[in-house]
Symmetry: C2
Subunit: 251 residues, 2 copies
């Protein structure tokens, strides 16, 4: 396991729990490597030259900008390798080996929060059909949701995930800060946040949209803009998002 961040932590635990053996955990920070290695019964290393040359699979779960560099350092071993990135082309690995694939778990991982890996959609791509088949089989040992996805589709998925996860979380933050500024408890909004996410599990977002913008309730929207008058950034954001809501198509 190359890397010791959020993805590595959850993926290594899931693989270990499914009966696979994690041989080593590499991180340039030996403390980070050791922590994860301890949890999954592996050896911690902080020098990539000490990597085990005989392992079945290198899982490169590092930040996107470091993937190519790591792959080059592993090239000499000519072992099977995958990366776990939504935004990175398979080609980055194909540049150094034909034994390459992608193993992209479409979820937001935090070290502080456990989750059931079997529900995580795993997007899989292989350099050829045999590799794809192998990765699908590996994937099925840890997740019930395996999707073959090529590099072009995976980039769209990653972009969509930013809209469906990172940006909504930012908007929760905006709401929480507005409440805090007015001495109101963020707990007030938590049931609403859950229900909003639950609704789209069964219906399309356009069908369940509520609020002033979808009703074209100009009076409420201008009252809201007035409440935001000390924050031009949030006013602009409110207007742009409301514009988007007003343009939503139901089908």
């Amino acid at each position: 396991m190359i890397g010791s961040g959020n993805v590595s932590t959850h993926l290594a635990a899931a693989l270990k729990n499914a009966g696979h053996r994690i041989i080593q955990v590499f991180s340039p920070n030996i403390g980070h490597a050791s922590l994860l290695a301890y949890h999954v019964g592996a050896e911690a290393i902080d020098d990539i030259r000490h990597i085990n040359a005989e392992t079945d699979l290198y899982i490169i779960a590092v930040k996107d900008s470091a993937i190519a560099d790591v792959a080059k350092q592993l090239a000499g071993h000519q072992r099977f390798m995958v990366h776990t990135s939504g935004a990175t082309d398979l080609q980055v690995l194909l540049d150094v080996t034909s034994q390459a694939g992608v193993f992209y778990p479409l979820q937001t991982f935090s070290k502080e929060k456990e989750l059931d890996f079997r529900t995580v959609p795993l997007c899989i791509e292989g350099a050829d059909e045999a590799i794809a088949k192998l990765l699908i089989e590996l994937g099925q040992t840890i997740s019930n949701n395996i999707y073959p996805v090529d590099s072009v589709q995976r980039k769209i998925l990653h972009l969509s995930a930013v809209f469906a996860c990172n940006f909504p979380n930012y908007l929760y933050y905006v709401a929480q800060k507005l409440l805090a500024k007015n001495e109101l408890d963020f707990n007030l909004l938590k049931p609403l946040i859950m229900e909003t996410a639950e609704k789209v599990q069964r219906q399309f977002p356009a069908v369940v949209q509520t609020g002033p913008a979808v009703r074209k309730d100009e009076q409420t929207m201008s009252a809201h803009l007035q409440l935001l008058e000390d924050d031009v950034f949030l006013q602009t954001l409110y207007q742009l998002l409301s514009e988007g809501v007003m343009k939503m198509e139901k089908n």
Copy 2:
């Protein structure tokens, strides 16, 4: 119950289930009034002049712009009345009677989806302390989350709810459309949407933020903008939201 929309439907059912008696349901559309009246064992009316003058409480759950007008039409009876709006001042009712309050359920309601009303935060305001106390007691019969909230705070809450619910739902829509355009299944994003909402039930949004913007990963952000090159609106939205994420404060 004045109104037969999403809020009326859920509120009337919760009151009925708690043992209260709904006398009448009013809607200018008799079909809508009849449907809800049937479910809660009430009389349906479509002429507000036929309203029962002896009822304990008029619950005005109509669109914001109609509240003042409805209140005026009920003024002659001088009975206790509340509205259920997040964005409307109590004063709108005080203009016609001193027996007034607010009973604002902070949730996104759809007629198609049931929910447990006991989890819904109920924001309560009364024209005086005695009324507030009465409404709190009524609220406690249907919800475990009662919050006394004045008109100024309630407007902030309503604005925050737009950021925490309506806008995230719009972003789910954007993601779903991006997937559809590329023949990808919206199901792929559903676990991510749930997990994003679940994370902030226990931690502040700033602590659990993930994605390219919070990592200041310029390479991925510009790749995303390129994927959106046929949609200037979404490009602008992506940039503005990313800017917001980059400015997030952890405390």
